[in-house]
């Protein structure tokens, strides 16, 4: 309920006196008083629509039956919600709705027994429950028929007889079941701004559809699944989980597939994920998920190619072995290769507990600092520097007057964040988008900049230089001097951005009181990563002189920040304490001497093979196929699938999916979020920390023994503050590194940064593993950039 002025007025609903904030609707008031009013088209968070007419009420001194969802309350209003006359009108309205909806499941005499007797094994000609609709049991119409006690439908029945649309990779559309409540159309346009669905035609022939009946993907569908989540009938249904029945359990967990870390409800039946989204239980917070959270987890969890037992590589063939055998073999080899011979490459799609366990195992049991994530950023200190900035909350984005989004394809990499940018755009914020190629965000931008690929740093310099002159900002002398040397013409040629365009950007930023810079990860994946970071910090510094400037780094992969923070880094111990400083904190806690020499990064471990004395690797997840891995003397991979890289592995261990794990992650806002298991992992799979504990026990190391995930969590929190302080901290002074812009364009080395594959889970390409995903990417074929 919104209350702008905080004025409360008193109303009477069904004889109950209540106080509600001024401006709320009758429906809000009734909900707050715990009075149920049936609705179909109403959806919290969307503009009221008043389409289904089921929420009609009687209000004293008001003619007719106004709808509760659209009528604002006034002082001393007397409302009646359940008179026999109202219920009878509601019943008639529902009858009218149902005259266009197949309703055999709604008014069947046997509907109570239906669910129980449906699953018969008899092969005789008896009807044992009809399955016309995937939503049977979870349908809002069924609830309403029950509530209004509707027994028969007296109107002539029209069946639309349109063909169900099944050309979608993730969901089916059967508009014969549609009641035109408009929830999907509204959420697609008002909330997601995808603009895929609209009401087409008019009157009797009205349907939800796209322009000229083109497929969803041609209409620019992003497969966020919001329409499927809100559909009250079986008109829109997920392919995965259709016909499985009504989920019996719901677990709230966190999506690990990107760094936004959305809360999600995983709905299960038995040990199977039926769907992910709002029902049953509360709607997801934030309101919706994206293609990854909505459709992918069930597909990877129940993937047919998942390995479920430890495997040993016998000349290219995989043989099943028992856990005891696997641990024995691993221990035997790990004894030979301890110290700097050994390394661990972890995954950023893993819980902080596993990350902490992996790095502790590496340092404490194996005595090596060779621990890193894959893939890595060029700038090793990036996360420590990012940590120096105050994080911006995802829902705070909407409050900024100007948003400068650079080097990011956020609608793919972080759809929920980009959604907030779209919202800000529709709330009249100035959006400036700059990237090396066109993407969806440009549709929601006031200033659209496309610079030459690889010229981000020069573009940022152009901005910085103009910002300095336009706003008369005093920089430290070295930076001012450096900026003076920049030739505007050269810079323009190098980036392809004219001076006038730069001026326009500065002009749009100048009047803003709150500015947000969203820095995409392509800025940090290039070789000029360090320059880009410094330039951005200087721009941040400059903007802060006249406005309140926030900074958001769109780093990829769910728990990358959390994993780095808990020590998955060759140079940092947990808490970004540097290895080479010989910090006492962790060596005392673990009771060993940590080598003060920085370890090898992922690239150094692999690309220098053989010859860098590096012989043995434990890999969590997957890596891009690299033939140098063949030079390893002993290679253990723990992954959910057999991949191209697995052919180099000696031992392959099965792994948990995040839907089966217990633990925590730290998301892009640096909030600690919990991951809860929704289903049990297949019998022979063990969590990473448990495998490491078993190895450690065999190696007779007593300092690494865990029996529960919680023990690790407690150990981390005892030493490390995970509820990260979000108050403003002083940003350290940044040095301006100058890219050489005087080289003529033709002679410039062009650095192509291929768009990273954002659809990875622990290094495994989801687009390879999931045929639907592949279909989607093939079809898109660059159409949307």
């Amino acid at each position: 309920m919104k209350s702008d002025k905080g004025i409360y007025i008193s109303v009477e609903i069904d004889g109950k006196q209540i106080q509600v904030p001024e401006g709320s609707t009758v429906l809000d008031a009734a909900t707050s008083a715990g009075i149920y009013i049936p609705t179909l088209c109403y959806l919290k968070g969307l503009k009221s629509y008043g389409g289904c007419r089921l929420c009609i009420v009687e209000i004293k001194n008001m003619i007719g039956y106004p709808t509760a969802c659209t009528t604002p309350v006034t002082n001393e209003m007397e409302i009646s919600t359940k008179s026999p006359e109202l219920q009878s009108i509601r019943r008639e309205i529902l009858e009218l709705i149902l005259s266009e909806h197949p309703y055999s499941c709604l008014i069947c005499n046997d509907k109570k027994e239906c669910q129980d007797f449906m699953y018969t094994t008899r092969k005789v000609t008896v009807t044992t429950g009809c399955n016309f609709c995937t939503s049977n049991g979870g349908c809002e119409l069924q609830d309403l028929v029950e509530y209004l006690d509707l027994k028969d439908i007296r109107f002539p029945i029209t069946y639309r007889n349109v063909q169900a649309i099944k050309n979608n990779p993730f969901y089916d559309l059967d508009y014969n079941l549609c009641i035109l409540c408009g929830r999907c159309v509204r959420i697609c346009n008002e909330e997601r701004y995808s603009g895929v669905l609209a009401f087409v035609q008019r009157g009797n022939s009205t349907l939800v559809g796209t322009a000229f009946g083109e497929s969803q993907i041609e209409a620019g569908c992003e497969y966020c699944g919001a329409c499927v989540d809100v559909c009250p009938t079986g008109s829109l249904s997920e392919k995965m989980g259709s016909w499985v029945g009504v989920p019996t359990d719901s677990t709230t967990s966190t999506c690990i597939l990107c760094s936004v870390g959305c809360r999600m409800n995983i709905n299960t039946k038995g040990n199977r994920i039926v769907n992910i989204g709002p029902r049953p239980g509360k709607r997801t917070e934030p309101d919706q998920l994206c293609i990854r959270g909505k459709f992918i987890p069930a597909d990877i969890t129940h993937h047919p190619e998942r390995i479920i037992k430890p495997l040993i590589n016998k000349n290219g063939a995989w043989l099943e072995i028992t856990w005891d055998q696997a641990i024995d073999i691993i221990t035997k080899h790990f004894k030979e290769f301890s110290g700097n011979d050994f390394g661990i490459i972890g995954s950023a799609h893993d819980t902080i507990e596993n990350s902490y366990a992996l790095q502790k195992f590496c340092r404490v049991v194996m005595g090596s600092n060779n621990i890193d994530l894959s893939p890595t950023y060029n700038d090793r200190s990036l996360f420590k520097k990012v940590h120096g900035f105050q994080p911006v909350g995802i829902d705070e984005i909407i409050g900024f007057d100007a948003i400068f989004i650079i080097g990011s394809n956020a609608s793919v990499s972080h759809p929920i964040i980009e959604n907030r940018v779209r919202k800000a755009y529709h709330h009249d914020a100035k959006i400036i988008t700059a990237h090396s190629h066109l993407n969806r965000t440009y549709q929601f931008s006031n200033e659209r900049i496309i610079y030459h690929p690889g010229s981000e740093n020069i573009f940022l310099l152009q901005i910085l230089k103009d910002l300095k002159t336009a706003q008369n900002i005093k920089f430290p002398k070295d930076i001012s001097d450096a900026l003076k040397l920049i030739d505007k013409k050269h810079a323009s040629t190098a980036t392809g951005i004219k001076q006038a365009q730069i001026r326009k950007i500065i002009e749009s930023l100048a009047p803003a009181k709150k500015i947000l810079i969203i820095a995409g990860d392509t800025l940090f994946k290039s070789s000029s990563s360090n320059d880009n970071f410094n330039l951005l910090s200087n721009i941040h510094f400059a903007l802060n002189k006249f406005a309140d400037c926030g900074m958001m780094f769109l780093v990829d992969d769910g728990n990358r920040f959390g994993a780095t923070y808990t020590g998955m880094h060759p140079e940092y111990l947990p808490g970004f304490l540097e290895v080479r400083n010989g910090e006492k904190k962790w060596s005392e806690a673990w009771g060993i001497d940590i080598s003060p020499v920085s370890g090898l990064s992922t690239d150094e471990m692999i690309s220098n093979l053989p010859g860098n004395n590096f012989k043995s690797l434990f890999l969590k997840g997957d890596l891009p196929d690299h033939e140098k891995l063949n030079e390893l003397e002993f290679f253990v991979q723990q992954n959910m699938f057999i991949t191209e890289t697995s052919k180099y592995a000696d031992i392959l261990l099965p792994a948990y999916c995040f839907t089966e794990s217990n633990g925590h992650i730290i998301n892009i806002e640096r909030n600690l979020k919990q991951i809860n298991p929704a289903v049990h992992a297949p019998e022979f799979i063990k969590p990473t920390w448990q495998i490491l504990s078993n190895i450690s026990r065999k190696l007779k190391n007593k300092s690494f023994q865990y029996r529960k995930t919680n023990e690790i969590y407690e150990e981390i929190t005892a030493k490390l503050d995970l509820s990260i302080d979000k108050t403003s901290r002083k940003t350290s002074k940044f040095v301006l590194s100058m890219p050489d812009i005087k080289i003529p364009l033709k002679k410039r080395k062009i650095e192509m940064i291929p768009e990273p594959d954002y659809f990875l889970y622990q290094g495994n390409s989801m687009s390879k593993l999931i045929p639907d995903m592949k279909q989607l990417i093939d079809k898109k074929g660059g159409k949307h950039g």
């Binding site: 346009n189 995808s194 603009g195 895929v196 669905l197 609209a198 009401f199 087409v200 035609q201 008019r202 559809g209 796209t210 322009a211 000229f212 209409a219 620019g220 549709q443």
Partner: protein
């Protein structure tokens, strides 16, 4: 392609969302119908999704999505014509030329549209081909009338 965008810029410089219907009318006036690619161009120009534009355009019967035929048939299904069996005439006509209202024959000879009243109820049922009114129609008369239009 870009010629449309140029004329849009000239006639509707404000680029406001309220210009959608005038733009659609403008296109229909110029082209005789709304081609699918112009919806895409309008979508880019006004920053409204194609689906929404199509939804608006299909709401109004004045907008057509097929190129007009050489001859336009408007068949009246107003009250008087309905009572006099306009429905039969329409189904006979549909069978004769093989299209449903709102579309154009493959050879481009006729397009067919149903209208609510042509204002000459006294001589119902009627249809209009181009600018000629044909009155007191019967199924037998239809074929002969159509043969006059090539």
């Amino acid at each position: 392609m870009s010629s449309l965008l140029n004329t849009l810029g000239k006639h509707f410089p404000e680029c406001s969302k309220g210009d959608l219907i005038p733009i659609l009318q403008h296109v229909q006036h110029q082209e005789g119908y709304i081609p699918s690619n112009t919806i895409r161009e309008i979508s880019e120009y006004l920053n409204i999704s194609c689906s929404t534009i199509y939804g608006v355009a299909t709401f109004y019967s004045q907008f057509k999505f097929n190129p007009p035929g050489r001859h336009s048939i408007k068949i009246c299904l107003g009250t008087a014509c309905h009572v006099q069996g306009g429905d039969f005439i329409l189904s006979a006509l549909q069978m004769e030329i093989g299209i449903t209202p709102g579309s154009t024959t493959e050879d481009g000879r006729f397009d067919l549209e149903r209208v609510a009243c042509l204002g000459c109820c006294a001589i119902a049922p009627v249809m209009m081909v181009d600018n000629d009114i044909h009155s007191r129609l019967s199924v037998i008369k239809l074929r002969q009338i159509l043969s006059n239009y090539e």
